[in-house]
Symmetry: C2
Subunit: 637 residues, 2 copies
């Protein structure tokens, strides 16, 4: 009988091994998770709720489990005991300190400036204050006709349509406030306006949402439609994670489970709605104050969000149902905005180059640039765009989830307690590290893993192929039954009391991931017959973007070896591009143009990518001439 079990916590990507019979609360603590509890684990407060998504546990006394959690795998962490290998989801409410997704606030100030420069401020939904004449027996036009005439006169809006929700509230609102109203009009299609809502009185602030639907995380920006300013932002994990970590696993769930597609669409909706609720609650707003949303996601995420079957994306020839998506009313999708609010999905290019990439390209200005630019988005996948105002080519390389902590023994996402930087003393193998929020370490996030790879090589612990060759006798370097491993942080220093290690197979996985990204870049350049020297600037987007150490990323051959001054870290460019589309009809039109203009390169066609990939499976690369700055170091060793 099994006596030790593995307990994996999602969405954190943390796992521990504990004896059979261990309470889940203890396992969570060992994994570095802090759960909320008011009774100190006595089983009376009913707050440390977890959900078992795989495997089983003995639920124990469930008397205090709140009614809303009954069934569907929920248990109390303090009462439930581990019986075998198990995967457990940690709901946001159950966390002592909510592990919010890091939302990038550095762009708040600059982005408005950027918008002002590049695009006229003309949100896809605007509000017009109107004072209408009261009707009489003689001047007896209908309410809508009266409103249309005034909107034509005051705002130049011709051929104003309306939706049913707006029409249903129109008569009552006009009369309740003495014919002084604010009309909220969407202009998401060129030359065509639609009345979304009418609110009583003048000057009421209305808001829009820019949404990034990532495979792993979802971020929502709350934007004041009158000023264009971002009022607040929230991020969280995509609840779809319970059905699989990456797009492929989710497509399989959508295709093969009877309720799969519905599950995933609901999970996306719930994720966004929870973020909306938090934003509304914090700012004292109502659902009806939210009048438009733009959503950027990869092609699979956009299909799932809209409830469109993505199964054909996964099988050759990899065809999505659509790359341009209809504008949908929030009510149709069950999103908690005004039911008539337009929800605009950003257009995609192909199955593996989605609206998130289009948004990023929009945000960088690549499509308007005279000089050649490179855009690299490293998330659960890696997407790369090369181009300028003349041409754009894009590809997607299956980098895998390594850089988000997936598939790495002590990998984790960039959250509190993640090692994000580290240095290994080549003489002593002693490790110095920084963790997010200065907490005791729980694992290594993407930037920490890049550093680790570079430092392991620099210290001579691994060779150029990633094989462990360190000869120094040190407690940090050891061999287990299965593998070589290097101890980054000893159990005495970590949150969970276990050693945090990086193994030889972790190293191999990271090398494959970095090689895929680099090979994608090389293949695009080769395709257009240009070399890196012609690229004026390289934009790095994605979750770990702004925390990445360029020198180390170049050192391991993830990024090309060019002057570091040519790199720009732009964080979550997906939500930034979505926001541009929310605030400028012209930007939205340009996003559509970008999606049309961009040429998608299918890497599985021909041998170029595979050749480049194989050559990149060394640290930093087979061909050291491509990495002159690294070559110096290699020469020393």
């Amino acid at each position: 009988m099994q006596t030790e079990c593995s307990v994996a916590f999602i969405p954190d990507n943390l796992s521990v091994h504990v004896p059979v019979g261990t309470p889940l609360l203890r396992a969570a603590t060992l994994a570095g998770l802090e759960l909320t509890s008011a009774c100190g684990g006595k089983g009376t407060c009913g707050r440390c709720v977890l959900r078992i998504v795989k495997g089983t546990a003995d639920p124990g006394d469930e008397a205090s489990l709140p009614a809303k959690y009954r069934g569907d795998g929920y248990v109390l962490a303090c009462k439930a005991r581990v019986q075998g290998d198990i995967t457990v989801e940690v709901p946001g409410d159950s966390r002592l300190i909510e592990h919010q997704v890091l939302v990038d606030s550095s762009l708040l100030a600059e982005e408005l400036v950027g918008l002002g420069d590049a695009y006229p401020f003309a949100p896809i939904c605007r509000s017009v204050d109107l004072s209408l004449d009261e009707p009489t027996l003689v001047a007896n036009a209908s309410d809508l006709t009266r409103l249309q005439a005034e909107l034509r006169r005051r705002a130049g809006l011709e051929d104003l349509r309306t939706n049913l929700a707006a029409l249903r509230q129109l008569g009552g609102t006009l009369r309740a406030c003495g014919w002084k109203v604010s009309a909220h009009v969407a202009e998401h299609h060129p030359g065509q306006a639609e009345l979304i809502a009418v609110s009583p009185g003048h000057g009421e602030r209305k808001y829009g949402l820019a949404v990034d639907i990532g495979t792993t995380t979802v971020v929502v920006d709350l934007v004041d439609l009158a000023t264009g300013l971002t009022v607040d932002k929230r991020g969280t994990y995509n609840k779809q994670a319970r059905y699989g970590d990456d797009v492929i696993a989710r497509i399989i769930h959508a295709a093969e489970d009877a309720t799969g597609l519905k599950d995933l669409t609901e999970a996306a909706r719930e994720t966004i709605n929870e973020l909306i609720d938090r934003l509304l609650g914090k700012h004292g707003l109502r659902q009806d104050d939210l009048l438009a949303a733009t959503c950027a996601g990869n092609t699979t995420m956009t299909h799932l969000f809209l409830g469109v079957d993505p199964r054909h994306i996964r099988v050759e020839p990899y065809i999505p149902t659509a790359t341009c998506f209809p504008v949908v009313r929030a009510g149709e999708l069950g999103l908690r905005l005004h039911p008539g609010a337009p929800v605009v999905p950003l257009p995609a290019v192909a199955s593996y180059v989605g609206g998130d990439v289009v948004a990023g390209v929009l945000a960088t200005g690549l499509a308007r640039s005279d000089s050649l630019l490179l855009f690299i988005d490293i998330g659960t996948n890696g997407e790369i765009v090369l181009g300028n105002k003349e041409f754009m080519v894009a590809c997607s390389c299956s980098a895998g989830p390594c850089f988000e902590g997936g598939g790495i023994s002590n990998g984790m996402r960039a959250m509190k307690g993640a090692i994000q930087r580290l240095h290994i003393d080549p003489a002593t193998y002693a490790v110095e590290y920084d963790t997010i929020a200065g907490a005791r370490p729980i694992g290594l996030c993407g930037s920490g893993l890049v550093d680790a790879l570079a430092e392991l090589r620099r210290a001579g612990i691994i060779d150029r192929a990633g094989k462990f060759v360190g000869e120094r006798k040190s407690p940090s370097l050891r061999r287990t039954d299965e593998d070589w491993e290097f101890v980054v942080a000893p159990g005495s220093a970590t949150e969970c009391g276990r050693d945090l290690c990086i193994t030889e197979s972790d190293v191999k996985n990271l090398i494959r991931a970095k090689a895929a990204v680099y090979a994608g870049i090389s293949t695009l350049l080769r395709m257009v017959g240009m070399d890196l020297e012609a690229v004026e600037r390289i934009y790095i987007a994605g979750g770990f973007g702004s925390y990445l150490n360029v020198k180390d990323a170049v050192g391991i051959g993830l990024l090309p070896d060019v002057d570091p001054a040519r790199y720009r870290f732009i964080g979550n460019s997906s939500v930034k591009g979505a926001k541009l589309c929310l605030l400028s009809k012209e930007a939205k039109a340009e996003a559509e143009e970008i999606a049309r203009r961009m040429t998608y390169l299918e890497l599985s066609l021909g041998n170029t990518f595979m050749d480049e990939f194989v050559q990149a499976l060394f640290l930093p690369h087979t061909n050291l001439k491509l990495f002159p700055s690294a070559a110096v170091q290699e020469a020393i060793q």
Copy 2:
């Protein structure tokens, strides 16, 4: 204690007086209603279900009442006993012979010819058969892009949008049928096409619906969108009748009952859905075969149908929320067409000149006519339009529901057993009559009532003011405690065994109704400074249109005294106009143009209408010069 109670049956407008304790089944039989029953009234078959909408009855043994009818006022007619005055609704399922609304089939052949003459055949939804190339790794456009390209090439459709429902089925359908599909595209807005659905294979027939939402009756035409031919039609009573007979009663219910608006919207939806179900069942079609609908109704009906509060229509200055309505998807309204099918409400002119009148004007060609035409729609209200291609003026006169049998003691709608024609022998007061379907008489419908009024006057039984002055001693003419009355059919001849009479107050009501219509016509003519001689043709639309005896209608002063050859009876012009809009984008655009161009005359403004009305309160009119043909007869008497 009350020993005799009144039992009113709706929507038939039939009522009887019976002793307290009478079973409802007996009361129904006395009223001439035949209810379905398999057990002979033993209370075991559960089929004679009625619904009490006002008053109460002792339900008796309800063991056999089907579960779906429990609550909400349903009882078994054979078990429930009358306890006081009561109003009872007779569901269609409970009738032995379903009293279907008479749908006018005489236009089936001619209308297609008319359409061909006047408007190009270009339905607002069309089907295009496509054979697409299968995608490859190289030709890897999305399914939608591939379809759009082919529709552009084959059908010249630019900028094709889609809806969510179509998108959700696209990928599966294309692959299930080897890329050979039929694309169904709506073009309800000029220059803008929307993909509604894709069906596998080629050549499948798709259908549209033309709907007339009358206050009293609802008619649905099933139309083949490929040929324009009307495949079938169905009519029934508007289930809203349970909340009131006329638009005013329904507006009050909508405004004053907490669930009033919802009730009425649901009742309209259910009425239409039941007709749809019957059409689908009969022709072996599926819901998804119905790809578009056009709906014509008066302004209140259209508001209620769309769930828009109509309360401001009823109070001065009588302002509707809208006269132009948005195109709505069937799914949004819960109508049983394809969920993405566009439902196009015809535009209205004002609160009391609705889309049904616009449809009628469209169907008559009035708006394109060189010569002056008059359009008169006599339904629950009376609407009149005067005009040609240069101008159009319209008014609505509160004729009341007399001509549909409302407010008349033995009035009823034009259904089986209704007296539709009658003649009174001036010498003997003997009555000859015709009933619909040759059945034993149950009551008098509109055309019968017009005849009765004319004949009562002709026989000298009433004077020009409608007062009973008949001097001949006859069992047909008698005085009750309350009123004078004339027996049209003795109890020995009638279905219910009671005498069918017409009373002095019935006569007064009919005179007021006919005076309102005539005064409306006079007021419109006076407004534009023209007289009847300038009117080349008079179109009579409405439920009783084609059964009306022009000579008698002129005789009583309902219609102007012009050459009978100038009259045209066009039956249900509302559904005919709706059908034109379904089958021709150009006709639909013209309906919008008609609604914009038509000038609405509010009759409550100024004294003209009231003066005309008072003058018309005689038979045929105060001024006999206006009725030369009647004047001859009056001179004789």
